[in-house]
């Protein structure tokens, strides 16, 4: 089952395409990171996935073919929007009660209360009076108490300090591990991606640039260092994502065309981290790698 599937998905605002020609199929059970510069279409893709906006073209379904935003999808998809919009004038416990009514049926009250107690978040305090980190935790608590099969988080780490980021991601990971919840989260914080994500989607200029399994991505990308005059030869065997050339030496971040591709003579190959891969693609919006599973065609 794919947790989200898009086919030819596009969304236009007035004359600008925020997302175009997006074909994605993220398998269920993954923690998928959505990276990309500002304005790349991350929020648009997430809003399409949770049905807040309708596509201008194409299709998007979640959890094995449920139309995004439909009742049967909303029931199982929890979304924490950017800047964690909650009713700031409500105390935390009333916010919980409200969410409980709006999600009657699947709501897990004891789970919510346990989480908040563990984080020492005062139940009677107004949401607006909590720190940014605590507000994010309340929003996550509400999302988790809905016992979602698919958790969508838009820039959840932005308002958090490093420690809170750590705790937040730990909570997400724990849920993903315990309940098998699929997660899609967008972030600017690339260093955090590698620790939690096992699937990566990079958007650039409203298009999917990279989509694939993190392990596959790390395995298929290499950093090559060699003589500056040998760049063309390396380019014959590899897709060069990003090249840094000095007078004598060149450093290339490349993607293997085949698993057996070997570095040419005089070149040294180094493994790369996910962060380096993401940065290389962000620097080269034109480069694209879609080594992941072929997007399923939605009939």
């Amino acid at each position: 089952m794919n947790v989200i599937e898009t086919a030819g998905l596009g969304r236009r605002y007035l004359r600008t395409w925020a997302l175009r020609d997006c074909n994605l199929a993220i398998p269920a059970g993954r923690v998928a990171a959505l990276a990309g510069p500002n304005g790349a279409g991350k929020t648009t893709l997430m809003h399409l996935a949770v049905g807040l906006i309708a596509p201008t073209e194409g299709r998007v379904t979640v959890l094995g073919g449920r139309p995004a935003g439909s009742r049967e999808a909303l029931d199982r998809v929890a979304f924490v929007a950017q800047d964690v919009p909650l009713y700031r004038h409500l105390p935390v416990d009333d916010m919980l009660r409200l969410a409980r009514v709006l999600n009657a049926g699947r709501w897990d009250q004891s789970r919510a209360e346990r989480r908040l107690a563990a984080m020492n978040i005062p139940l009677r305090r107004k949401v607006g009076k909590l720190s940014g980190g605590q507000q994010a935790q309340v929003a996550l608590t509400i999302a988790l108490a809905r016992r979602p099969e698919f958790l969508v988080l838009d820039e959840p780490l932005a308002p958090l300090d490093p420690l809170a980021r750590h705790e937040f991601l730990a909570a997400v990971m724990e849920t993903a591990a315990e309940d098998g919840t699929s997660v899609l989260f967008s972030s600017h914080v690339i260093t955090e991606l590698e620790r939690v994500a096992d699937y990566l989607v990079v958007l650039a200029c409203g298009r999917v640039q990279v989509a694939g399994d993190v392990e596959d991505l790390v395995r298929s990308h290499q950093l090559l260092t060699g003589p500056a005059d040998g760049v063309a030869a390396a380019g014959d065997r590899f897709d060069v994502v990003h090249a840094q050339q000095g007078l004598a030496q060149a450093q290339l971040l490349v993607r293997q065309r085949t698993a057996s591709a070997q570095a040419p003579d005089g070149w040294q190959a180094h493994p790369v981290t996910l962060e380096e891969i993401v940065l290389a693609y962000l620097r080269e919006p034109e480069a694209s790698a879609l080594p992941g599973p072929e997007p399923a065609v939605i009939s």
Binding site: L52, A54, R97
Partner: protein, 366 residues
Amino acid sequence: MTALTSGVHPVGRWRSLRAPGTSMAWVVWRQHRGALTWLGGLLLAFGVTMLVAGIQLHRIYAAEIRHGCLGASAWSHACRPLQNTIGLGWPQAYTNLVMLAMQAVPVIIGVFLGAPLLAREYTAGTVRFAWTQGIGRTRWAVATLGLLAAAMAAAACLLGLVFQWSLLPVAAQTSRLADRWEPGVFGSTPLTAAAAAVLAFAVGVLAGALIRRVVPAMAVTAAVTITVANLTYNRLHYWLLGQGTELARDQAFGAAPNVGNLSGGVLTIHETVGHATPGPAGAWLDQGWYTSASGQRLSDTAVNHLQNRYTGTGPEWLTRLHDTFWVTYQPGSRYWLFQLILGGGTLLAAALLAAATIALIRHRRA
């Protein structure tokens, strides 16, 4: 544990919505507690004011009945101060004031409850929360709008009831000020007041959904609801009551028509017939005109001439000249029919606006 946590079944979900403390009603109340509290306080104060004034008026009225003051020629020593009070004193100003206040109630509801309802969700970004919950945005909107509209309808209905009751003595005493057909009274019965409140609320909600900013939405709502009130009370009312009228001869009225504008030989009466003027009892008079013995309608000049020449010479002059005064009217028995038409039409307009709002919520981006 309540049915809430255990009921995954859809039936359980609906049942849980009705459970006390965990219902949509609680959610709506909790979210709009501030606005509902001060709005409720304001309306309550208004209602109590009318209640207190009404008790005074009914006390005077009861005294008048006791002293037999309601007959046309009952000018006893005991009656005069009572009649003077109701006919000339504070009840006159009171009547005009509460009529205006009743017309303001829907405007206040639309501006301060309707307009911010969705506009605030948009500006605060909380639509992204509200519309991604399991309940779904359509059911969320229907429940929120429906519950608040019902609450406002109930409040306006109660106010309309107190308003009508408090004005009964004034209506019984003076010929037209508080008559049930008069726009200010006709438009503020329990039925029409409730309908007007719901319509203004719907206008406000739609304005908020379209404009998405609180203050501009409130301003537009104020402009629209005040215009609607103006049109309803000043034009729609007279137009509506002019439809499907009956025609009758009324020589007594024609002999001393001290009301209305004359234009093209037609007298616009737009007045009700209480006990002080003759005519079909309890009816609303729309228009009147004179015809000569040959059946010709008399011109403005001819009518003016006749009235200048003969008014005050006794009620028989018209018949003596073989002229006839014709009047179109709505019989008193149609009062509730027209109440239903105005109230129902207003509710229908509100329902259309609500449907447009729901459609907007369903199909527009957050």
